[in-house]
């Protein structure tokens, strides 16, 4: 057992955690700006420093910082629409983190969820809320699989989730494409059928938001996502179920001692994570933001991996995830609004990646912020016999293997 708390499980002093997250964001943005400057310099060698900075600022950094507010109101609408699925994948990863699992399979569960949503809409013609349920079920199933592998065969969930990400992607693409004549596939446009024009009942209502933001993809999805986040928050902190899952995450052995079934907890947790990710896909595709392109989707949906950044930034706190998702979608939209002639939109992904990297040792920022290395852990009651104090959990005198 590690002595200090893992960045995944969060907890600890709330203010410190928020502070540490801010530090991560600031450093991430700073690096992003440096990157933009570097690109600007490469594109215009020999220009003055001032020119480089202003170019990087005006066409690169400003859109990123302003995000959706760069081209209101449409871009605000886009930002909100993009945030909804991101909240869900963030919840998916965060919920798993709370249970001590790393759900890197959110992207694959999202893919399956997309399939579920589109299948229910196009083939079954169900109303939007039923499609959302369908999406969640598909995601849940895909999440449960790595859970089962871990619970019964002790295969690490990261490896199995990654494998199933790719299996899922290829499977979904194959089925949707259907050899060029699949029922879900509109060969003339090389993507799945447009929901809004052909299956309007399956589209999530927008209750006027669409008009307000001049973007019909801005639906009540965001409110649904926020509602789910609130439910998850309550479940984690106030129910016996949440108590059991968190106990498993902190200490599997003690959870077993307490009578909690670890296998059940692991599978349930992955199942719920998968459902959350699938639901996110449902929110996205049933808002008709875009269609699925089976032949061009050669990479896993980025939203699945950005969910990791979202969860880490918020220390897996469901309410915090709402905000960090808004932030990430903010800079992602901003990235897409940059002048792509000068700067590629992937800059936002780079910033996201840097933030995750920083979050991996966010605890360091916490301890630094709280003042000179004052660790929050107890003084070792028996300064380790021959072991460095890092090995907490070792009772002096106990044998090394268990």
């Amino acid at each position: 057992m590690k002595k200090t708390k893992s960045p995944r499980l969060g907890g600890g002093n709330g203010l410190l955690t928020i502070g540490a997250s801010f530090v991560c964001i600031l450093i991430g943005l700073a690096f992003g700006f440096l990157f933009l400057m570097a690109l600007s310099w490469i594109n215009n060698p020999g220009s003055s420093f001032g020119f480089i900075v202003s170019r990087a600022w005006r066409y690169g950094f400003k859109p990123i910082i302003m995000g959706g507010f760069y081209l209101p109101p449409i871009s605000i609408g886009q930002e909100i629409a993009a945030a909804a699925p991101l909240i869900m994948t963030g919840l998916s990863v965060g919920f798993a983190f709370k249970t001590g699992l790393f759900n890197i399979g959110a992207a694959g569960q999202y893919t399956l969820g997309a399939f579920g949503a589109l299948y229910c809409a196009i083939i079954l013609g169900l109303p939007w809320w039923a499609c959302l349920i369908g999406a969640s079920l598909f995601g849940a199933a895909w999440g449960a699989i790595p859970g089962i592998f871990k619970a019964y065969l002790n295969i690490h969930e990261v490896i199995s989730s990654i494998m199933f990400n790719w299996i899922g992607l290829y499977a979904v693409n194959t089925i949707m494409y259907g050899g060029g004549t699949g029922p879900m596939y509109d060969a003339s446009k090389t993507k799945t059928w447009n929901l809004r024009s052909l299956y309007p009942d399956s589209v999530i209502p927008d209750l006027g938001l669409g008009v307000f933001f001049k973007n019909r993809s801005t639906t009540i999805a965001i409110f649904l996502a926020i509602a789910v986040a609130l439910v998850i928050a309550v479940v984690i902190s106030r129910t016996t179920f949440g108590y059991e899952l968190r106990a498993c995450g902190y200490n599997r052995s003690a959870a077993k001692y307490a009578g909690i079934s670890e296998k059940k907890s692991i599978i349930l947790s992955m199942l719920i994570s998968g459902a959350l990710a699938g639901f996110g896909a449902g929110l996205y595709y049933l808002s008709a933001v875009a269609e699925w392109r089976p032949m061009e989707s050669t990479a896993l949906p980025a939203v699945g991996f950005n969910g990791i950044a979202v969860a880490l930034l918020a220390s897996s706190n469901p309410i915090g995830i709402i905000f960090s998702a808004l932030f990430i979608s903010h800079i992602t939209i901003g990235g897409s609004l940059m002048n792509s002639q000068y700067f590629p939109p992937e800059i936002a992904d780079i910033i996201s990646g840097i933030i995750i990297y920083l979050c991996a040792f966010a605890l360091l920022f916490q301890t630094m912020l709280s003042g000179r290395g004052r660790k929050k852990n107890a003084p070792p009651e028996s300064p380790p016999a021959s072991e460095p104090p890092a090995e907490d959990g070792e009772v002096p005198g106990k044998e090394a293997n268990e």
């Binding site: 052995s253 009651e381 106990k398």
Partner: protein
């Protein structure tokens, strides 16, 4: 002329960790050719002091001298260069490596980086013969016995021609006979001119083998005495700071009906192909404390895991208050009246990152008073936790909302004891309940155990400390290699006799203990 009477001197050593002064102005002087014991309770600072000498830590203040000359020891390589070697309490051996590889690790004979194993093997075999330390060079550590593992650790020092040898609690894993052998080996070393520092908290061993003793208490040095001029009682008083009552106050009681029945229990081992527990049968009755004695690793842990439900037995039955719980879940066993104070409080007993109150309801959170429709009733939990804290004197920084990780070991253990006893179980299973605790906490827990027994509960105690076994229990069962090899009354047996049985040298049949007539 420099005074070379002392081969090693540690003068005014102060070593701090965040929040605690592990060594506070400690002075220790080792004469050449002597066996010098370092005595103190758990947490006194003995291991830290030796780690400083061995270069694992650096002291903030103080000076170390060898043969009168000040030296700096920044890492184990420096210590080794000064001819200092250490046998650690928890063996520092790589399990999947061979004996030979472990001995030469860090000091490998090599040509251009390529290890010359045949050279190493020769030297090891020579040393092994010279000091009668029997080892198999090509065996893997994970396959050999604990005794041989310790010999490997000793050979590590001899291979490096160390002259100053530090032994950190070497006897914890040995039988009384092996302990005597080890002492002979140590005397052999000193006859050759090597000097030995020997850390322990066991008073009798100090009297048996050492020349002088330095006593530490709470990080400070209490004093150094010649062993020939002191007694066990005097040392004990120095160690603890007050006269210690080494006996537990206990009235005689008459045991009642059988509470726990174990019949033909067999439990497989995770570590090797044999069974860890072989066809064991015994009873524990109401109003008695039965103690399972034995050297660590003879199946006690597996037996307890099977009783509590953490592991499955492959054969046999377990009955509690007449009910067969052989296949019951952990939760059911708890509900039938079993409480379990686990050996490893950090692994099984507590969720360190939860608060005290969350841990207090660790097994009871599902009961109707603590939850409604799946929602935790925080008020009830808080009240319950507060009551336990007051009743059992559990000290913490912020009361019920303290994160358990921040509590001291003694109070963590008290919290577990409080939780398990308050469940009012018919059977209390306590495994090593006082390991790593200071004398005050130990006295407290012993008193609680006796109180429960006087109230008519059945207690199954597992302990490695023979003193505890003799003082606290009403009946002693000795375990050796997974079998029960003897049953004793503490009033009529001795530690030496127990030692023989614990080492497997003798065995006898158990008496039938049925319901009281």
């Amino acid at each position: 002329m420099a005074d070379a009477e002392y081969v090693i001197e540690m003068l005014n050593i102060t070593k701090e960790f965040p929040g605690i002064k592990a060594n506070d102005n400690v002075t220790l002087q080792l004469k050449k050719g002597e066996i010098h014991a370092l005595l103190g309770e758990n947490g006194a600072g003995k291991s830290t002091l030796m780690s400083v000498l061995f270069g694992l830590y650096q002291a903030e203040e103080g000076v170390i001298k060898k043969n009168g000359e000040p030296v700096r020891i920044l890492n184990p390589n420096d210590a080794n260069a000064l001819s200092i070697g250490m046998v650690h309490q928890h063996f520092k051996l790589v399990e999947c490596f061979s004996v030979l590889d472990n001995i030469i690790l860090g000091a490998e004979p090599a040509r251009l980086g390529v290890i010359q194993r045949h050279e190493a093997r020769e030297k090891v075999l020579q040393l092994s013969k010279k000091y009668a330390l029997r080892v198999e060079p090509d065996a893997l550590i994970e396959d050999i016995s604990v005794g041989m593992q310790q010999r490997v650790e000793i050979l590590k020092m001899l291979y490096r021609d160390n002259e100053i040898l530090i032994f950190d609690e070497p006897t914890a894993v040995l039988t009384p006979q092996e302990i005597k052998e080890l002492m002979e080996i140590m005397r052999g070393f000193t006859r050759e001119g090597k000097s030995i520092l020997f850390i322990t908290h066991k008073l009798q061993e100090i009297m048996d083998v050492s020349d002088r003793v330095t006593v530490l208490r709470r990080g400070k040095c209490v004093g150094t005495v010649n062993t020939s001029e002191t007694t066990v009682e005097a040392l004990s008083a120095m160690m603890v700071g007050r006269p210690v009552n080494l006996k537990v106050e206990k009235a005689d009681t008459k045991p009642g009906g059988v509470v726990l029945g174990v019949a033909n229990l067999t439990v497989p081992s995770r570590l090797h192909k044999n069974n860890a527990v072989k066809n064991i049968s015994f009873n524990v009755r109401a109003g008695e404390i039965v103690c399972l004695a034995g050297i660590e690793g003879n199946g006690q842990n597996e037996l307890i895991y099977a009783l509590s439900g953490l592991e499955k037995q492959s054969a046999g039955t377990i009955t509690l208050c007449g009910r067969d719980i052989s296949t019951a879940s952990i939760r059911e066993r708890s509900r039938c009246g079993m409480s379990h104070i686990p050996a490893d409080r950090h692994k099984y007993g507590l969720v360190l990152d939860y608060t005290l109150e969350q841990n207090m309801v660790l097994q009871r959170y599902r009961e109707p008073e603590f939850q409604k429709n799946g929602f935790i009733q925080f008020d009830t939990v808080r009240k319950y936790s507060d009551r336990l804290i007051a009743q059992y004197d559990v000290r913490s920084g912020q009361g019920s909302s303290t994160v358990v990780r921040a509590m001291s070991g003694g109070n963590q253990q008290k919290a577990i004891v409080a939780r398990e006893i308050d469940k009012n179980p018919e059977l209390l299973v306590a495994v090593q309940p006082t390991r790593g605790l200071d004398v005050g906490a130990i006295e407290y827990i012993h008193r609680q155990l006796v109180a429960q027994r006087d109230a008519g509960k059945a207690i199954l105690l597992v302990s490695l400390e023979l003193d505890e076994v003799m003082n606290v229990s009403d009946r002693i069962l000795v375990m050796y290699e997974g079998e029960l090899v003897g049953e004793f009354d503490p009033r009529t047996t001795t530690t030496d006799e127990l030692g023989l049985y614990m080492a497997g040298a003798k065995r006898r049949a158990l008496e039938e203990k049925g319901d009281a007539t």
